[in-house]
């Protein structure tokens, strides 16, 4: 049974803080993804990684960076948090060309 875990379920940060969101998967998947979910906008891809140390920008990468030093771990970094980054952040992984497994999400509030 695939498991994708995210380091925090809820997070409150202040504007300008550096924020780290971590995601770990236990199925040896090559591909990992970070999305944000906002009402009326669905899930929007921020970044994805198809191998260790390999990353590509998604649709909304501005204000974010990522790190993938190990296959099972994919981190999302908000370099300087802003209020418009308040959102639900979802991590996913997959090993196939179709279908993804999602973590439970991190609800981030930036004050």
């Amino acid at each position: 049974d695939v498991k994708v875990t995210q380091s925090s379920r809820y997070l409150v940060k202040r504007t300008g803080e550096k924020v780290f969101l971590e995601c770990v998967q236990d199925m040896d998947h090559e591909n990992m993804f970070w999305y944000r979910q906002d009402p009326g906008l669905g899930l929007r891809l921020i970044y994805f990684s198809y191998d260790v140390k390999m990353k590509e920008k998604g649709d909304i990468p501005e204000g974010y960076s990522v790190s993938r030093e190990k296959k099972e771990r994919f981190s999302l970094i908000l370099e300087s948090a802003s209020t418009n980054q308040t959102s639900m952040y979802l991590c996913a992984s997959s090993s196939l060309s179709r279908g993804q497994y999602f973590g439970p999400g991190t609800r981030l509030l930036v004050l």
């Binding site: 669905g42 899930l43 999400g105």
Partner: protein
């Protein structure tokens, strides 16, 4: 540019009746389509999928229909149950290694099934 659209933000149906959720896409290169279900405070979970070589796929109470010429797909839930109340996301992707499994999602439709 929203390549996958779910034009109905919400849908309300009575328990036991059919729920029909719709999804349109603009990119004719998409060849695989998925539906995900999401409860509050949880991540989305895979529900059902369909390849572009098919026009229908059924799994229990859930059936997905694909109309390639209209670039339209729909999810039918029969009979609807209160536990089906959730947000439903349509997603599309391109097969093949260079897509890396990237999915393009619609905005989601909130389904409420009343007892």
């Amino acid at each position: 540019d929203q390549q996958v659209k779910q034009n109905s933000p919400s849908l309300s149906v009575q328990e036991g009746r059919i729920s029909i959720l719709n999804c349109d896409y603009t990119n004719s290169m998409f060849d695989y389509f998925l539906w995900y279900k999401k409860y509050p405070a949880e991540g989305p979970t895979f529900l059902i999928s369909i390849s572009s070589i098919k026009d229908k796929n059924e799994d229990g109470r859930f059936t997905v229909f694909l109309n390639k010429s209209a670039k339209h797909l729909s999810l039918h839930i029969v009979p609807s149950q209160p536990g089906d109340s959730a947000v439903y996301f349509c997603a599309a992707t391109l097969s093949g290694g260079t897509s890396y499994g990237k999915l393009t999602f619609g905005q989601g439709t909130i389904l409420t099934v009343h007892p």
